[in-house]
Amino acid sequence: MKLRHTASQAPEKVEIQMTPMIDIVFQLLIFFLFSFKIVTQEGDFNIRMPVAGPASSTSLQTDLPIKVRLTADGDGNLASIRMDDAVLPNFTALHEKVMSRVGTNAGPDATENNEAELDCDYNLKYRNVIGAVTAISGYVTPDGRIVKLIQKIKLSPPKKPEA
């Protein structure tokens, strides 16, 4: 059967209703606008701290751990930094001291063989611990590359202040 267009039927312009679509699109836009928040990138310092026992004592240790002592004042701010009985003025000095210590150990496993233990006052603000971990674990070169120094870092057990 042959279909024929009738001459009397003029072609109608099909108009799409845009209003509902624009409504939804704006709703979506508002949703994403409100749920958007600027988050800073976060990174981790990985530390392995098994419970003190025979396992840790039998592990291969070529060097004695570097002991870093951080003391706090009454407000929890950093009062002093000590490493190997040397008093250091700031984390930059700590970093330089660690550099001189690790730098003398030749070999590809130098960063793996070194270990550091942070002994901190109970009330010390945590930001100082991260500062010390940053100073010990490495540094960023001017071209943005991270050079690792000591990867084995552990925290000493908590010592509650005497009342």
Binding site: I22, V25, F32, R48, P50, N123, V140, P157
Partner: protein, 149 residues
């Protein structure tokens, strides 16, 4: 002087919506891409310390559980705020769950998001409680920024 309005047809008054819709879709796409649902663990109550060495991990940590510590030394675990004493039971449950799923708690990583103002001693206590429940790997989380001092 009399201003004569030019005769306009009804069709000429219809605004062209295409550029606006284009722009709106572009904006939606922009916000959709930037919206990070994966960072839902981040809590506004915790202001992380910053470190220039804190780089995001290249691969996502497997079997990771997040323990958060607020500035007033309260523990935030699974969206629940509790004193540090309450963490023990939660960790025991997590360790049991990991064991039942055929893994070991020693292989799991505890991500520690502690506030910069929290006491180090409390952080150490959290670590100690994790150790008591068999967890050995810890990731101390910090903000990726230049150091403040």
């Amino acid at each position: 002087m009399k201003i004569i309005k030019p005769k306009t047809t009804a069709a000429a008054l219809e605004p062209d919506m295409t550029p606006m819709i284009d722009m709106t879709f572009q904006l939606i796409a922009f916000f959709m891409v930037l919206l990070n649902f994966g960072e839902a663990e981040q809590d506004a109550r915790i202001r992380l310390p910053s470190s220039q060495l804190a780089k995001p991990p290249e691969t996502a940590l497997e079997n990771a559980l997040v323990v958060q510590l607020t500035g007033d030394n309260q523990v935030l675990f699974s969206g629940e705020l509790m004193p540090i004493a309450g963490l023990d039971e939660k960790l025991r449950r997590e360790a049991r769950f990991i064991t039942l799923s055929g893994e070991k708690p020693e292989d799991a990583t505890v991500i520690l998001r502690a506030d910069a103002e929290s006491k180090t001693g409390v952080v150490q206590e959290v670590i100690q409680k994790c150790q008591e429940n068999g967890f050995e790997n810890f990731a101390l989380r910090a903000k990726q920024e230049d150091e403040e001092s």
